[in-house]
Symmetry: C2
Subunit: 367 residues, 2 copies
C-alpha cells in the first residue's frame, strides 16, 4: 500500500525529523507495507516513527505473544489527544498482546501533588471508564497502580543501582533543588516499561510502548538500563512507536489544564459547540476572499479533528480537504459539520461510558 | 542512683562530646535516676546520649505503648557489637513496646551487591536466630524485609517529595557518580523509622531508635522530614539513644569483614581462644614490669569485653579492674579468664541457637 496524496499533512515536520535523526528513530512509513492490517493512525502517518518495531511486527505476523505498555497520569480530564493511545491499544488487543496499563499515581503525586486517593478516583472516572467505553476490553488488560505495585517498585530500586546522578541530570536537568522523588521517579517509569519482561509477568518478550516524541528520553534510558541488566533479566530492548501530538484547538499545545484547547470525552454539547466555534483555522479574513482563494487545511485545527478522529474514511476526508481548498466550504460551514459529527460521536460515547463505569469500578476494585 | 567510680571508662570521649554539643544530643546520664530499672548498658554509660528520650520514658512509666525501631543489614556475621542493640531490645520488650525489626535487604543490595535471596538467608541464620537465642521474643516483634514492605516503600516515596538533592548531598556527600539507588536509599531508612507512626501500624506514638552515634545523620534527617509532614501524618519526632561502638579486639574498628577484630556469636572455641589471645591490651612490655606498675584497663580491648558483655555484675567487674591496676593479674591470666567466660557463654548460646533456628525459620516464612 502506498499513499500518494498527503491530505493529512503527513510529511514529518522538521523538528520531528531532527530528533529522529539525532536519536535514531526510524520512519514508520517503511514498515507500513509489511503490516497486514495497519491502523488508520499508521496509514495517515500520525504514527510516524519507531524503534525496533520490527520485532513486534514479527510477533504479530507469527501470532506470538508480546506486551504493550502504557501509562496514564490521573490528573485532569481525558481529552481527544489521550484517545490516540487508546485507539492503538484497541488495535493491539486485536492481536496476541498483553496490555499493561499503569496508573501513574506516584507521578501525579510527585509532579502535581495529587493524593493517591484522588488519583484512584480520577483514574477510574476520567480515564479507565472512557477507555472501556471506547472499546478497550479492560478485563483483558493488566491494570495497576504505581503506588501499590510492589514488583515495579522493587525493580525500580534494583535498576537504580546502575544509573547515576550525572546521567539523570543530563536527561532531566535535575539540580540541587530537585526533590528526591523527582530524581527517583524516572526509575519507576523505566521499571514500568521493563516489568512485563520479568519472568513472573511472562517475559522476556518483545514490548512496545506507544508514545509522543516528547517521551523519547524515557525510552532511551529504559533501553540503556535494559542493556545493563542483560545478565540478570535477559531483557529484550523495548520497542516504541511515536505519534504526533494532536495540536490544541486554539493554536497552543493541547492541555487538560486549559479546557479551551481540547475536547474532553465528557464535554457537553454546548462545550463542544463553543470550543469548535472558537478553534483556530486555516481560513481567510473574509468569507468572500475564502470562497475565491480557498482555505488551508494544513493550518487548521478543525481539520486535524477530521484527520485524527472524525473521518476515519479516507474518501470522506479527501472530500473535506478538496471542499476547503477550493473555497466551496468555508470555515463556518465546516465547523458546523465538525460540531455535528463530534456531538453525535460524544452522544454515543456517553451511553457507552455510563454502561462502562460500574463495570470498570468492579475491575479496579480487584487491582 | 549515682555512680562515683568510673571503672568502665564512662567519661564521654571528646569526639563524642563534640558531636553531642554540635547536634544537640543530651547526656543520657541525666535521665538515669528517673528510669525505674535501668539496663546495665545505661548504668555503665555505654548508652551515653539521647534525643527526646523523655517521651519514651514517660510512656514506660505510665505503662503506655511506644515503638522501638531497629534494622539489621544482612551482610556478614553477627558479632558482639551487634548484640548491644539486641540487649536493649530485650529490655524494651520487658516494657509495653512494639518492636520493629527491619531487614535492610535493599541496603545490602545497594551498598554491597548482595542479592535479595542471599539477604534472606543471612538475615535468618546469622542474625534473627541469634536474636531469638539471646532472648528476644521474635514472635512479638514486627519483622519485615525492606524489599517486600510496600507500606515503607510507599512512605519513602511520599516523604521524598519534600527532601531535595542539596540536603542529601550535604548529609551524605553524594556526587555525579552516585547511583540513584544510593541517593534514594536514605529515604527508605527514614520511612523505616517513621512508619511505626502510621495509623495502620498503631501510630502516631513515641518511637525510639537505639543507634551508634555514626547513625545520627539519619536520625536528624528523619526528624526534619517528620516535622515537614505534620499535617499529613501528625508524626511525633522520633527519639533516639546513642551507644558507644564496641571497639575492635585488635585496636581497629570492629568489623564483620575483618574477623580478627570481633567475636562472632557463631565462633568456635578455637577462634575465641585465638582472637582474645591476640587482642590489644593495656599491658606493659614485660610481665615483671606489669606486676610492679599495674595495667591500664581503659586502653584494654579485653577489659571492654568484660564491661560490655562478660561481667554484668558490677562487683566482679570492679574486682577485675582492681586486679589489673594493681598488677595482681597480668594480661595472660586475664585473657585466660575472659576466654573461659566467653567459651562458657557461647557454649550455652550455641544450644539456644540450635533450638531457635527452626522456630525463626517458621516465623520468617510468614513475613
Amino acid at each position: 500500500m502506498t499513499i500518494k496524496l498527503d491530505p493529512w499533512g503527513a510529511a514529518i515536520p522538521e523538528n520531528y525529523a531532527r530528533v529522529m535523526e539525532e536519536f535514531g528513530i526510524s520512519p514508520f512509513e517503511n514498515l507500513l507495507q509489511d503490516i497486514p492490517d495497519p491502523h488508520p493512525l499508521m496509514k495517515r502517518r500520525i504514527i510516524f516513527g519507531h524503534r525496533d518495531f520490527e520485532r513486534v511486527l514479527n510477533a504479530i505476523k507469527r501470532g506470538e505473544n508480546f506486551a504493550v505498555m502504557t501509562g496514564l497520569m490521573p490528573s485532569g480530564k481525558m481529552h481527544l489527544g489521550h484517545k490516540l493511545v487508546i485507539d492503538q491499544l484497541i488495535w493491539y488487543q486485536g492481536h496476541k498482546s498483553d496490555i499493561f496499563l499503569c496508573v501513574a499515581d506516584l507521578e501525579a503525586y510527585s509532579a502535581r501533588g495529587i493524593s493517591l486517593e484522588q488519583s484512584r478516583k480520577f483514574a477510574v472516572e476520567e480515564y479507565l471508564a472512557n477507555y472501556h467505553a471506547l472499546g478497550l476490553n479492560l478485563d483483558r488488560c493488566h491494570i495497576y497502580f504505581q503506588s501499590t505495585n510492589d514488583a515495579v517498585r522493587q525493580l525500580a530500586f534494583l535498576l537504580s543501582k546502575r544509573v547515576n546522578f550525572s546521567e539523570m541530570k543530563a536527561i532531566y536537568g535535575f539540580a540541587g533543588e530537585s526533590s528526591i522523588s523527582q530524581i527517583f521517579y524516572p526509575m519507576i517509569d523505566i521499571a514500568d516499561i521493563l516489568h512485563p519482561q520479568l519472568k513472573e509477568f511472562g517475559g522476556p518478550r518483545p514490548t512496545v510502548v506507544p508514545v509522543g516524541i516528547d517521551q523519547d528520553p524515557h525510552l532511551r534510558l529504559a533501553r540503556d538500563v535494559a542493556s545493563r541488566f542483560q545478565k540478570e533479566f535477559n531483557f529484550i530492548l523495548p520497542s516504541s512507536t511515536y505519534h504526533r501530538l494532536l495540536p490544541g484547538l486554539t493554536g497552543e499545545k493541547m492541555s487538560s489544564s486549559r479546557p479551551e484547547t481540547a475536547i474532553f470525552l465528557t464535554d457537553s454539547d454546548e462545550e463542544v459547540e463553543k470550543k469548535i466555534r472558537n478553534a483556530f483555522t486555516g481560513g481567510l479574513p473574509t468569507a468572500a476572499e475564502q470562497r475565491r482563494r480557498g482555505g488551508d487545511p494544513t493550518k487548521c485545527r478543525v481539520y486535524e479533528l477530521y484527520v485524527y478522529h472524525l473521518l476515519p474514511d479516507d474518501e470522506k476526508l479527501l472530500e473535506v480537504n478538496e471542499l476547503c481548498r477550493s473555497g466551496k466550504m468555508i470555515c463556518g460551514e465546516c465547523k458546523t459539520k465538525a460540531i455535528e459529527l463530534m456531538k453525535d460521536y460524544l452522544k454515543e460515547h456517553r451511553v457507552k461510558y455510563r454502561r462502562a463505569l460500574p463495570k470498570v469500578r468492579k475491575i479496579v476494585e480487584k487491582v
